[in-house]
């Protein structure tokens, strides 16, 4: 198992699956509230960044492309969180 995880893309796969399970567990355990929603969005942001950098290989892409795609991720996650927080009455 440890030998397999020496490969970076195997580690990324493991983290993505565990993060997905964590987000699913938070919802299925009937936990509610802004903190749970924010955690769910944070996990989605983290997973998205891993896919962008490690699977799409933008970690080694020209900076303009990395900035464009990571900027999209940050903007979309930020807007979703802002509207979600307003909907929850937190802002």
């Amino acid at each position: 198992m440890i030998v397999i995880l020496r490969q970076p893309h195997h580690r990324t796969l493991l983290v993505l699956v565990l993060a997905t399970a964590a987000a699913f567990w938070m919802r299925s355990d009937n936990l509610v509230g802004l903190g749970i929603g924010a955690s769910t969005l944070a996990i989605a942001y983290w997973k998205g960044r891993l896919v962008i950098l490690d699977f799409m290989e933008l970690r080694h892409a020209p900076l303009i492309w990395r900035a464009l795609i990571e900027g999209w991720l940050l903007l979309v996650c930020g807007l979703i969180f802002a509207f979600y927080a307003v909907g929850q009455g937190a802002l």
Binding site: T12, V17, R27, A44, D54, P62
Partner: protein, 199 residues
């Protein structure tokens, strides 16, 4: 965070700061991301005004379907990365099996969606039922079309790979198909929590 995977320039086998695949596909990918980003924001803005409707409607979804499909796409993306690494390592015979596995997972995703849509339609729920289901059917339907297109692209790559076409000196076509497939995975990473989890 920044070093879960750190593919080295040596692994890439070329100079640093290189965009994988055809640069034109990245313009297409960015346009697709902008379009779906607008969909995601439209969904959450509509959610703000109809929270009770959305919460009630969301309970009709089987979250297990969403979870299974998320795992399918994540593992398929990993399999495509493995195919690319095999080609870069000049092991062309190892490329096709990884692509075949990714294709099988893409088809499995479609199968799960078929059962999910069938269950909804059989119980009288469609995209006119309420705002939540309008977004649910439209967003997942448009994404499903991308899964179908991505699977067709992977099948073309797989056909080429079976003939030993991809190796260290001929990788661009495979990188282009892989980049599109990862975008399909990236979009679902947001559709899953938005539609199935967030309330």
């Amino acid at each position: 965070m920044s070093s879960i995977a750190s593919t080295t320039d040596t692994e890439l086998g070329r100079d640093a700061r290189r965009l994988p695949g055809d640069p034109d596909v990245w313009i297409f990918i960015f346009a697709e991301l902008l379009m779906f980003g607008a969909f995601f924001v439209a969904y959450i803005v509509n959610w703000m005004g109809h929270r009770e409707v959305y919460t009630a409607a969301q309970t009709t979804l089987d979250r297990s379907f969403g979870l299974i499909n998320t795992i399918f796409l994540i593992v398929s993306s990993w399999s495509v990365v493995s195919a690319l690494k095999a080609a870069r390592a000049n092991r062309p015979r190892h490329v096709a099996p990884f692509l075949g596995f990714a294709i099988a997972l893409g088809i499995s995703f479609m199968g799960v969606k078929y059962f999910e849509y069938s269950a909804k339609l059989d119980s009288g729920i469609d995209l006119t039922t309420d705002d939540f289901h309008m977004f649910y059917f439209c967003l997942t339907g448009i994404h499903l079309l991308h899964v179908i297109a991505g699977t067709v692209i992977l099948i073309v790559c797989w056909t080429n790979a079976r003939q030993g076409a991809y190796h260290r000196d001929n990788i661009r076509g495979l990188e282009t198909g892989a980049s599109y497939w990862h975008m399909v995975d990236l979009l679902w990473i947001f559709l899953f929590p938005l539609l199935y989890l967030l309330r």
